[in-house]
Assembly symmetry: C2
Homo-oligomer: 122 residues x 2
Amino acid sequence: MSEGAQLTHTESAKRYDVFHTDCPARDVVDHVTSRWGIWVLISLRSNDLRFYELRDSIHGMSEKMLSQTLRALVKDGLVRREVEPTTPPQVTYGLTEFGQSVGEPLRDLFDRITQWLPPRDT
Amino acid sequence: MSEGAQLTHTESAKRYDVFHTDCPARDVVDHVTSRWGIWVLISLRSNDLRFYELRDSIHGMSEKMLSQTLRALVKDGLVRREVEPTTPPQVTYGLTEFGQSVGEPLRDLFDRITQWLPPRDT
DNA sequence: CAGGATCCTATCCGATACTG
DNA sequence: CAGTATCGGATAGGATCCTG
């Protein structure tokens, strides 16, 4: 799962040509759709949040996973990290332009699922 | 992560009220954004596929993961499974209405990410 | 407050082998 | 063809403790 073949998938002529897992976007997709990534991104859509605020809003998420997820998201250019050199330190996270762009379909996805569930339920 | 507290999250007044992880939609979101779920759903968007066709189009996916993912998706009502009682058996998978609805933002998400990456790359 | 380091468990997932 | 069952390694992820 670490090859870089990069088929151009622009040859959309085959019946099921789809992306073949080995495009660079896959890593980003992986981070975005990771267990916690999606919630972080959706949480930050409305407004910037501090570390503890994020942890607070996403129940069940440990600090480890939060910092880890944030690091990946920042590296991917989805999340912006701003450090205020005060005491105690104050770090704020927000979405980059890219993050906002990605957040839209995520929110849409989430909305569609929650919309659909109530009527059918279990 | 197996509680059923179900906060109504309709009280969207707080600053960072977001969904609190414990809504029923979470499981579905989890399946949809699972490592392989997203690819299965996107693959099925264009047209229905047979088991081996799916495995073929999503490179690197083992049969185990495929059947496991499909089972979850079928149970969630996202994927439709049609068995043709021929010999040998012929099973076709396709998206339900719900699956199609969910597939749209997924495709959008994927597109936005691939669109964004080329210019920046590594 | 905002995390890093460590430990340890649960689960994910691939490989292989077998069934209808 | 379309799966299921089992095993074992890899990884995700939670709990706890510690630092600037």
